[in-house]
Amino acid sequence: MSLGGRRGAVAAIVVVLVAVLPLMVKSSFALDILIRILLFAFIGTAWNLLGGYAKQFSLGHAAFFGLGAYTSSLLEVNYGISPWLGMLAGGFVALLASLPIGWLCFRLRGPYFTIATIATAQVLMLIFLKFRDFAWGAEGTTMPNLGDAPLMMQFDGKAAYYYVALGLLLVSLGVTAWIERSRAGYYLVALGEDQDAAEAVGIDVPRMKRDILMLSAFLTAMAGTFYVQYIYFIDPNTAFNFSISIEAALVSIVGGVGTLFGPLIGTVLLETTAALLQSWLGNQAGVQVTVYSVILMAVILWRPTGITGYALELYARRRAKA
């Protein structure tokens, strides 16, 4: 079989497997892990647009996640508007919020950009905690349980959530693949390599950064809506949790920043590890993130291009030998 044919066959098998997985996996625990993998791969892929290609390392993506979660929840609870519409509305709210956030944070470079993004997410969380008449304050609220209501993004079994998360992930992968091949994709990589050089060759760096942040924010907000619909609950601590920002960055770095499938591969590795640890040690505080941080450190010190980068290196070496 030719290389192209073999690739096509592998891809077909993967697609079929992914599509029928929820029909074979009956355990709710396992299905939950699969949904988490798809969700965080989606968030990671959204983060990767900004952090991986443009190399603007945000640790504040919880801001957009939370805005998406709150927008759709407020629309549903107060006005009965379907979260499907709320998801898009949340995306636009996050997109608009990304303009002032980017305007402020992009004034700083490198690590101080990262710190500024942490601060914006924290400010949003504190605002939602503080002003209780605005959105339920610190107590949060549960989503109305409508039973099996697909139009309101509520489903009977977990399998349906799996397909929604899968759809979201495919959207983000599609967008990324499209950007990778576009002129904008090359601009992003150029500015990620060296902002000043990119500017010198005529790339409108501030505009590129602003635009990619808008897109990344929009997608991340969609994940927020999905998550609230999945767990039926929202409060500031869930919606703006720092761990969301951390995991978005972590899965991309471990998998390989600036690659199409890096965040997905990183998520599979980290979430599977977390699930194994959990079934082995129970829910002991600190275990999961301890392991995450050791993996992160190992990747940074020995394989800074992530798993994908390492795999590509090995592949290139093998081809060079052959």
Binding site: K55, R107, L108, L126, Q284, S293, L301
Partner: protein, 289 residues
Amino acid sequence: MLEIVAQAVINGLLIGGIYALVSIGVTLIFGVVKIVNFAQGEFVMIGMYITYFLGTQFGMDPVLSLVISMPVLFVIGMLVQHFLIRRVLGLNDLPQIFLTFALSLLILNVALMVLTPNYRTLHTSYSDAALHFGGLYVPVAKLIAFGVAMLLSAVLWLFLRSTDLGKAMRAASQNREVAQLMGINPHRVFAVALGIALALAGAAGSLLMPFYPAYPMVGQVFVLMAFVAVVLGTLGNVVGALVASLLMGIAESLGIQFIGADSGLIVVFLLLLATLALRPSGLAAGRAS
């Protein structure tokens, strides 16, 4: 009214001294090694637990325990430089940012596992004591912490001004290549900078212990404050970080007084965002450290 403001300013100024120790450490590392140490707060936490341990096991006074917590953290700092940070120097942003970030997560979560999330407090004879001036009162433990913090800052300032090693450090922070050409061994200078910065974080932890509970996440508040102070005080500027820390302590305290108990951080973050909007290069921009 005036009295309430004055009291809030005093409270803020005193806690600002602790913030100063943490932010001076962050700005020193940034200035000399060009790395932002995301784990600085976790070293404050380690300092607190060292003092807690010495206090509960041997009845050692928190201020006295500085003679142990500071050297221990100095050594940890040199090890962190030698085994971790040295390996990412000269690389791009990603490893430089996420190495110390991973270290922060690691220390915090190991502490969660080993020490449990419980709050631990150390009660000293002066924990509840206070001096009274008219209607104002000054808690003794915080006053001691502030005094020692200012003393340590002054010692550091003198060290940077007048010793060869301090001068080498400032030279390395201004221009690494030229400093190297002048015969300065950067790795030695970097290791000492890390050592000093962590020793200051450890001192902050020890000084906090009489009036502040220790728990694994405690460092996060302090490190966020320090980051804001370092931006506000112009990156890499030691005096700037000190002044900004004191101002932030006061701003936080006024926020707590007039907006509500949990709003101190909002005020500080808004201060950061306002600084970024109005004067992105910091308040002391253009002045030499």
